[in-house]
């Protein structure tokens, strides 16, 4: 795991941690597994458990990227995708363990799919090789 892949995984991990931290800030006082989470800005909904899950998975992704361990990044990706599945199965109903809506699904799906794509991407032959200029 080198160069841009590692940086991108770190960025996604930080995004997950920040999302969870923001979730804690707005869901303070809610029941831990409130079916309708609090809304972060005009974006996604999280309850305290959903916020905790986001922070933990974000830290796992950061740890995997920092240690250049693809399997750890894959674990974070799997966690996000499972969280996304939870939203599909429980959103709009009770119980809704993480308090999410379709907006939360967007967050979880993006982070999960993004980390998955990064974790399974082929390595460049040379870790110092620059990205090809097709941008």
């Amino acid at each position: 795991m080198n160069g841009g892949i590692r940086t991108a995984a770190l960025v996604l991990g930080v995004l997950g941690v920040l999302s969870g931290a923001a979730g804690f800030a707005v869901s303070a006082g809610q029941p831990f597994t409130a079916a309708e989470g609090a809304r972060v800005g005009e974006l996604f909904h999280l309850n305290p458990l959903g916020s905790l899950v986001s922070v933990v998975l974000g830290l796992v992704a950061i740890a995997g990227a920092a240690a250049r361990l693809r399997v750890v990044v894959l674990v974070a990706a799997a966690g996000w995708l499972l969280a996304a599945l939870q939203v599909v199965l429980q959103s709009g109903r009770e119980p809704n363990l993480l308090g999410g809506t379709a907006s939360t699904l967007a967050l979880f799906l993006g982070l999960g799919a993004g980390l998955l794509a990064l974790a399974v991407a082929p390595e460049t032959p040379d870790a110092a090789a620059p990205a090809t200029a097709d941008t």
Partner: protein, 182 residues
């Protein structure tokens, strides 16, 4: 080799800067479109999506009939979408969530941009004639997504920028497909 103004290297450098600027512009469009889809997804609430009390997505789907914009689309909504509303409710729920996540991160941007154009047209065909709506908002949104799709807006500030060089190293069919869709 000369780098004076007008020389080939200078022109190449200027072209590179302009291409980069255009790429960042498309990235801004892409991220704003993704955030819009993420924001708007929240009120699509399963499992009924507002059908029992005539609210939510059910209400918006019926706008295509009450305030028609494009007769073939109105006919499609009457004949197919409303009778099979639970299916289409879930389809919109999943699609708009995916559009939000994938466009914000810039992953497989040409695919999700194209799907975003289709969804934005469906929205426009439902609501541009509803009193109080500003039709140009929907035209601008659709135009932005067309630009993101044609311009491959994930190749700056997006995961496509990071992943495309690696996909290009693989002969695997999925890698080849990912290159086309990004």
């Amino acid at each position: 080799m000369s780098t004076t103004i007008g020389s080939a290297p200078a022109r190449a450098a200027e072209g590179g800067r302009e291409a980069a600027a255009a790429g960042y512009g498309l990235a801004v469009l892409r991220i704003v479109a993704g955030v819009t889809f993420l924001h708007e997804a929240a009120w699509k609430i399963p499992p009924a999506f507002g059908q029992p009390d005539g609210s939510g997505l059910w209400e918006w789907a019926n706008f295509a009939i009450e305030h028609p914009v494009f007769p073939p689309y109105t006919a499609l909504v009457e004949a197919v979408v409303l009778p099979l509303f639970p299916f289409f409710g879930w389809a919109v729920f999943l699609l708009e969530a995916a559009l939000g996540g994938f466009l914000i991160l810039g992953l497989l941007t040409r695919l999700w941009g194209a799907l975003g154009v289709v969804q934005s047209l469906a929205i426009a065909f439902s609501v541009v004639n509803v009193p109080g709506e500003w039709a140009y908002a929907y035209y601008l949104f659709t135009a932005g997504l067309i630009a993101v799709t044609l311009g491959a807006g994930g190749r700056r500030l997006g995961l496509d920028q990071v992943l495309r060089p690696r996909w290009s190293l693989s002969d695997a069919p999925l890698a080849r497909l990912a290159l086309r869709l990004s």
